[in-house]
């Protein structure tokens, strides 16, 4: 899977490329808006990692140009500023996610994978926490490589939690994921599904824990 890194600091660009290659990606590195614009016209990349401050222009300008051409490539913005104006601007101009420098390479790869696993961005690999695995292609959960049979609703909740590994999924997100935006949802319906999922996982020996963050949402993590 080929990624494009647009970063003007050579040292950082090389280090990023090295890290991403270790993680199994093929990486091209460019340092200017101009180069990136022309290369993106002819070459298909699975994702773009874009620094905002570039010598010949603002990374956001490139981003707008890409979106203007209806190129749906997932874009992960790197920003040194981290200011509030940057954040709002970046996401409005069409970035899918952003990271403030300095960031952990692990975090970058995790965010990248989250983008690549979105519908339409097929990343076939299974999601995994401890001994629990979830294959996004056939939506099959397995514990210790033993396929598990879960109800459709439990599977949906598990999928969402696994996709958001390391992050809190709000109750609203779970609702939308399971019931769509329409329809009345009983106030405790989500809690019931999460409770059932939690029970199923622990009964079957999964070494994961589904945390309930009261008033906020849910988070799946390795059992301590």
């Amino acid at each position: 899977m080929r990624l494009l890194v647009v970063e003007d600091n050579e040292e950082l660009a090389e280090l990023l490329a090295k890290g991403l290659r270790t993680a199994g990606y093929q990486v091209d590195v460019l340092s200017t808006v101009e180069e990136a614009t022309s290369v993106l016209l002819t070459t298909f990349y699975a994702a773009l990692i874009l620094d905002l401050g570039l010598p010949d222009g603002d990374g956001l300008a490139l981003l707008r140009e890409i979106r203007h051409r209806n190129n749906p490539i997932p874009v992960l913005v790197l920003t040194a500023r981290g200011g509030l104006h940057d954040r709002v601007h970046g996401l409005r101009s069409g970035a899918d996610d952003y990271l403030v420098k300095p960031f952990a390479l692990e975090e970058l790869i995790a965010r990248l994978e989250a983008q690549l696993r979105r519908p339409g961005h097929l990343l076939g690999s299974a999601l995994r926490i401890a001994n629990l695995e979830f294959d996004t292609r056939n939506r099959q959960a397995s514990i210790d490589d033993q396929p598990q049979l879960l109800s459709a609703r439990e599977t949906a909740v598990l999928e969402l939690l696994m996709r958001s590994k390391g992050r809190v999924v709000s109750k609203k997100q779970v609702e939308d994921h399971i019931f769509g935006h329409s329809g009345e949802v009983a106030s405790n319906a989500i809690e019931v599904y999460v409770h059932r999922l939690r029970k199923q996982l622990s009964e079957r020996g999964a070494k994961v824990q589904v945390h309930t963050i009261r008033g906020v949402g849910y988070l799946i993590a390795e059992e301590k």
Binding site: L12, G19, A80, G82, K101, A104, V168, I213, V216
Partner: protein, 452 residues
């Protein structure tokens, strides 16, 4: 010296003074002109009468002069009528003819006088005013004097003078008042662009540094002031821009080398060394982030029109810090209001303040306990922990930059609460701090609520 607060009041006062002075002078001038004109008419009439009397003066063969006045003139000069008088005097000063009972001259005669003279003389309790002309009749020089007793003066003339103020004088006052009103109207019109400029100036502030006062319609006399203000605004805007650019540049210059360092550590072969160094770099990055936050806050101004949903901002913070809390064996909960709570303020700034309170609470709360966020519909967010609480003598210290209770403790920069305090100040929010029973602290931030 009286100091006038407004140009209009200055104009009104000075104009009223001018109106009073002008009214007095105009009246005096007009009445002087009027009496001058009536005097002229009187003098001419008297001269004419003298000429007429002279025409009826003739020399007899014996050389003596005789006066044969026709009947109508005799009536005019009659004692009974008593208004007009005449006398004829020869060059010896003898009175030849006189309409007066005592056969006297009307005015003293002076041989050196010119051909026509206008004179006035008091006679008893009356004043006689008239003319004296020099004429030669039959080789003799005589002075013919005619006069009018002013006590019996023509009623018409008297009326004109007497009624002058009643009929004419008052008209100057309204004319001058109309002028005054016209002047005020002109001035108000001329000042209108200034009022419009003031309206624009009212909106200029740290959040709107791009506005400038219009100069097109401003009166030329005031334009230098307006232009100077605009130039001053240019300089201020430049100052703001430099400050903001500096913060952004500093962030870039500091964070890029840190990113390189961080990524280099992440790609190290020796995972163990990497692990320890990563922690150091993260700590350094945290301090730099907070210093940059402080620098940004120093030049940050809250747009008065901005609003934030305190509930959703807090929920985002809770989502963000929950994984951190869980890895430390601590929990997070969001309680209180479940509907949006709108307050005045910048959402990102509110988020930073709450995040710093949250990180502080997670650092201090005991393992196995829960950090609670509580939203009140009155615009208050509280962050509650189960840590050691804050001792009385530390209450002010904790908000000071770089203050830490335990300097050996890692992960604390001593900047978090000072950021919270600065953001609270910028939003006119109040911070309250209470200790909880049996242990713990409750930090509350009360923002200005907006009614939906």
């Amino acid at each position: 010296m009286i100091r006038f607060q407004s140009i209009i009041s200055r104009i009104v006062i000075l104009h009223v003074v001018a109106v009073v002075i002008a009214s007095i002078f105009m009246s005096l001038a007009l009445s002087w002109l009027l009496s001058y004109a009536t005097n002229n008419i009187h003098n001419e009439a008297m001269q004419e009468q003298a000429v007429t009397v002279g025409q009826h003066l003739s020399a007899r063969p014996d050389g003596r002069l005789e006066l044969n006045l026709p009947l109508d003139l005799l009536g005019l000069y009659s004692q009974a009528y008593g208004r007009y008088l005449y006398a004829v005097i020869d060059d010896q000063g003898r009175v030849l003819f006189s309409s007066l009972a005592d056969h006297a001259a009307l005015f003293p005669v002076d041989a050196r006088s010119s051909d026509v003279e206008f004179l006035q003389q008091r006679r008893g309790d009356a004043t006689v005013s008239g003319a004296s002309i020099k004429k030669t009749v039959g080789g003799q020089t005589v002075w013919i004097q005619t006069g009018e007793n002013l006590a019996n003066r023509d009623v018409l003339i008297d009326d004109i003078v007497a009624d002058f103020y009643k009929n004419v004088g008052w008209i100057t006052l309204p004319i001058l008042l109309v002028l005054l009103i016209a002047d005020i109207a002109i001035f108000r019109r001329a000042l209108r662009p200034l009022w419009q400029a003031s309206e624009i100036a009212r909106d200029i502030g740290p959040t709107r540094t791009d506005l400038r006062l219009p100069t097109e319609e401003i009166p030329r006399e005031v334009r230098p002031l307006v232009s100077a203000i605009n130039l001053a605004l240019d300089r201020l805007e430049e100052g703001f821009r430099i400050q903001r650019d500096f913060t952004a540049d500093a962030a870039h210059e500091l964070r890029t080398p840190l990113s390189i360092l961080r990524t280099r550590l992440d790609t190290l072969e020796d995972k163990q060394i990497g692990q320890a160094l990563r922690k150091d770099v993260d700590g350094m990055a945290h301090i730099i982030s907070q210093l940059l936050d402080i620098a940004e806050l120093d030049s940050f101004v809250v747009d008065p029109d901005e609003k934030a949903d305190l509930r959703s901002v807090t929920a985002e913070v809770a989502e963000f810090v929950a994984p951190l809390a869980l890895t430390q064996g601590k929990d997070v909960a969001l309680l209180g209001e479940t509907e949006p709570v709108w307050v005045k303020g910048n959402p990102e700034m509110l988020s930073r303040a709450i995040r710093n309170l949250a990180e502080n609470a997670i650092n201090h709360t005991a393992p196995g306990t829960t950090v609670e966020f509580f939203i009140d519909e009155n615009g208050t967010v509280s962050v509650l922990d189960r840590g050691p609480g804050v001792a009385e003598h530390e209450r002010n210290l904790i908000f000071q930059r770089f203050w830490r209770r335990d300097r050996r403790k890692a992960g604390s920069t001593g900047l978090g609460l000072s950021i919270v305090q600065r953001i609270a100040e910028l939003h006119s929010a109040t911070i309250t701090l209470e200790n909880r029973r049996p242990a713990g602290a409750r930090f509350s931030l009360k923002f200005i609520p907006l009614r939906p």
